[in-house]
């Protein structure tokens, strides 16, 4: 079965990123992209608990999805937030029938062209540390099998965040979540630096960084660090990764 084959490949790919030099942003980014691919969704986003009483968007497959997630955070309403606060999965949520429950979210989601939303919790025992969200433009619902795949990916994301050491307690969780949030900021800063140095827009800059990281086997954070420190420039990135 092609899909089962692909599913196995994705889990192997994710497992590989866990044993190599681990890069949390790259890992979560890859995970959102594979989630979209495996269940035929159109986009995905991933939010993590910032341990200050809020969620932060740490990975997303495209800009409209990031904006939609930010809007949920700003308005304090939406399926991802409910999923996070209850720890319960919200599957096959029809945007058209969500107006009463989340008026501003329903408006924004429908403006962005999304018809169906899914939110699965990232759970560590009883604690919820984040949520993975999927969006589809068509009305096609996800099957139970699809949902199991998505929950599996959310579980892998949780394991990935905590894998570096055995989970003692809050200590590791705190360290990992804080590191994830700052790695994300570092990558954003590097996108800006590269875009100004190489004359690219920020998404092209990000693509170039990721391609370079893949080709060289370096972590995205290492690449971002080198760009910020000015030890890696646009010419070298293009030479290795090709022109975006």
């Amino acid at each position: 079965m092609a899909r089962e084959q692909r599913l196995a490949e994705v889990f192997v790919e994710l497992a590989d990123t866990l044993v190599e030099e681990f890069d949390v942003v790259d890992f979560l980014q890859t995970l959102t992209e594979r989630a979209v691919e495996l269940v035929d969704a159109d986009s995905a986003g991933l939010m993590l608990d910032d341990q200050r009483g809020r969620l932060q968007v740490v990975a997303y497959t495209d800009e409209p999805t990031r904006l939609l997630e930010l809007l949920e955070l700003q308005n304090d309403e939406g399926p991802c937030l409910d999923c996070f606060s209850t720890g319960e999965r919200l599957a096959n949520i029809d945007v058209a029938t969500s107006w009463e429950r989340w008026p501003r979210f329903a408006q924004a989601a429908s403006d962005a062209g999304f018809a169906v939303v899914h939110a699965v919790p990232m759970r560590l025992r009883r604690q919820v540390i984040g949520a993975l969200n999927l969006f589809t433009r068509s009305q096609a619902p996800l099957t139970g099998e699809h949902l199991a795949v998505v929950q599996g990916l959310a579980d892998v994301a949780t394991i990935g965040l905590l894998h570096e050491r055995a989970v003692r307690d809050q200590v590791v969780l705190a360290e990992q979540l804080q590191t994830a949030l700052h790695s994300r900021i570092l990558v954003e800063q590097a996108k800006g630096v590269l875009s100004a140095r190489a004359g690219l827009d920020v998404s092209a800059a990000f693509q170039l960084m990721r391609n370079y990281a893949r080709r060289t086997g370096k972590s995205l954070t290492t690449v971002a660090d080198a760009i910020v420190a000015n030890t890696l420039d646009g010419d070298e990135l293009r030479r290795v990764a090709g022109r975006p």
Partner: protein, 239 residues
């Protein structure tokens, strides 16, 4: 960092009510932090791009000793936190410290430090310092206490960034420190501005924020202007 969550704004406002002078602000922050949490003392250490730059404030002798030991020996939770950018939470120094930091642990235990929690003060690649909390008895921070400690760390980050700019005190208020929630643009723009103006990321962040403040606009708007090429920092307006 999650910038200005409600609690961070509260912490900064309380500081401002007490004083608007730079060194008193730092001293006030470690005092307030020490009182808000079940810890024995708090120290604030400065990092520059060239490395550790000394203790900014400490609540008591043991907190000061904790900072001094680490700079002298070049090892300890604060050193690890600043090098790795990760929080270092050590609830029982006697149990695990000697193996992790052979030289530091003995001195710290002798100074009466039984647990240390070192929180790096950073905004992505920008690293400004470390907030060290210590306890005279062993024990971990609860999730609620950790949340409160992180709020103080965020407030300390904003404070140190401000102090590094040496802006006049009357131009400054907790409101001027605020950064918005949709800050991916702000961090991207920080990168762009650091190249345009030829300054460090820390200075670039300060420039973006200063312009927003001067123009009475949200930082996110200025950041979007930078990314769209509508705002340029090649001429440095503040110099």
């Amino acid at each position: 960092m999650p910038m200005t969550s409600g609690r961070v704004a509260e912490i900064l406002s309380a500081l401002w009510t007490e004083s608007s002078d730079g060194s008193a602000l730092s001293a006030g922050l470690v005092q307030d932090c020490s009182q808000a949490l079940p810890v024995s003392g708090v120290g604030l250490a400065l990092m520059t791009e060239r490395g550790p730059a000394g203790t900014v404030a400490a609540t008591d002798g043991a907190a000061l000793e904790l900072e001094d030991l680490q700079f002298t020996l070049g090892e300890g939770p604060c050193v690890d936190a600043s090098e790795t950018g990760r929080p270092v939470l050590e609830p029982d120094l006697a149990a695990t410290g000697p193996r992790r930091w052979p030289a530091f642990a003995g001195g710290a235990l002798a100074a009466g430090v039984a647990a240390v929690f070192a929180l790096p003060l950073r905004v992505g690649a920008i690293r400004v310092g470390v907030l060290d909390l210590y306890r005279a008895t062993p024990g971990a921070l609860t999730p609620e206490h950790l949340r409160e400690a992180l709020a103080f760390a965020d407030a300390a980050t904003l404070l140190l960034l401000y102090l590094q700019t040496r802006a006049p005190a009357d131009e400054f208020s907790p409101g001027a420190l605020a950064l918005p929630a949709d800050r991916a643009e702000v961090h991207q723009a920080t990168g762009v501005v650091s190249v345009q103006a030829g300054v460090s990321l820390a200075e670039a962040l300060v420039l973006v924020r200063a312009r927003a403040y001067a123009e009475q606009r949200p930082v996110g708007d200025v950041a979007r202007d930078v990314l769209a090429g509508r705002a340029d920092f090649t001429d440095r307006p503040n110099r």
